[in-house]
Symmetry: C2
Subunit: 170 residues, 2 copies
C-alpha cells in the first residue's frame, strides 16, 4: 500500500480529487440540462430511463441509490413517467415488497432518441484527447467508483463519552 498521496497541510483544491470531480460535474450538468431544456423530458428523467434500459437499475429504490436522490422523490418521478406511458410498475413475485419498473416500447424509444446529442457533446469535449487517454480516464474512474462503493459511510462521533451500555441512536 503506497503512502498517502494527499496532505492536509499544503492542500490546494485545484489538485484535489474532490474539487476536480465536482467541477467536472458542475460544468457538465448545465450543458446536459440545456440539451433537454426544450424537450418534454428532463435530464434526470432521461438518466432514469437509461438506467432501466441498461439494467443498472430495475426498481425505484435502485434509481434512488443510483441518482443519490430521496426515495420519495423517485416515487413521484416514477409516477410521472408511468403517467406518460414510458414505463409500468409490476409487483415482484419473488419479493412482494419490490415493484419492478419496466420500460414500455415508447419508453425505450424516448430513451434512445436522446442519446445522440449527449454523445455528440462528449465527443466535442473530448476531441483533443487520444483514444488511449479517454480509455485511461474511463478506466481510472471505473476503479475509483469501485473503491467508493466499498468505502463505509462515516459515523458521527458521539457527543458525550460513550458508556459501556450501547446508546440508542435516536
Amino acid at each position: 500500500m503506497p503512502k498517502p498521496y494527499f496532505r492536509a497541510d499544503n492542500f490546494h483544491c485545484r489538485q484535489s480529487m474532490g474539487y476536480l470531480t465536482r467541477r467536472v460535474q458542475n460544468l457538465t450538468t448545465p450543458h446536459a440540462e440545456a440539451i433537454f431544456a426544450d424537450q418534454d423530458l428532463s435530464f434526470t428523467q432521461w438518466i432514469s430511463l437509461m438506467g432501466l434500459r441498461e439494467g443498472v437499475a430495475e426498481t425505484s429504490a435502485d434509481l434512488a441509490r443510483h441518482l443519490n436522490h430521496d426515495a420519495g422523490a423517485v416515487t413521484r418521478m416514477v409516477d410521472e413517467l408511468e403517467k406518460r406511458g414510458l414505463l409500468r410498475r409490476e409487483r415482484s413475485k419473488e419479493d412482494r415488497r419490490v415493484v419492478k419498473l419496466i420500460l414500455t416500447p415508447q419508453g425505450k424509444a424516448v430513451a434512445r432518441m436522446h442519446v445522440p446529442p449527449i454523445v455528440d457533446f462528449w465527443n466535442r469535449v473530448t476531441n483533443e484527447f487520444s483514444a488511449a487517454e479517454i480509455k485511461q480516464l474511463l478506466d481510472l474512474m471505473t476503479r475509483l467508483i469501485a473503491r467508493l462503493e466499498a468505502e463505509p459511510m462515516h459515523e458521527a462521533a458521539p457527543k458525550t463519552k460513550t458508556k459501556e451500555k450501547k446508546r440508542a441512536v435516536k
Copy 2:
C-alpha cells in the same frame, strides 16, 4: 483531430463519460456530507469558504458559477456565513456593482479545521492507486475541465422556421 470516440449506436453508460463522472459525484457527496453531518457547517458552506480561501472565487457571483447554484441561493448562504462571522462583505472600489467576500480569521480557521477528514477520506479511497495513477487522473480531469469551460452552451432549436429578421429571444 482524432475521430469521435463515443458512438450513439452501441452506447453503454458504464463506459460513458457522463455516467462515470456522475457516478463518482453521486458516491462521493454522501460521504462528504456525512463527514459534516455532526458539524455546524454544511459541506456546501465549507466548499464556499475553501473557494474564497484559495482565491478560486472572491464574490457571490463567482461562488454561484463555481457551485453551479443560483445567485439568489448564494446570497442567502453568504448572509448566513456573514451572520456567523466567518466572512464579511466589502463593496469593491473599482467596480461598484461587486461585493467582495473576505474571510475573517474565524472563517479561515473553520475552513482549515475541516480539511483533514476530507483529505483522509480521499487517501483511503485512492489507497490502491499508485502516485502516478492519481497524478494521471488529476491531469486528465484538469484537461477535461478546461475543455468544458470552453464549450459553448447548447442553444434551443427554434420551434418554427427562422425568418431573415432576427427574432426576439423573449
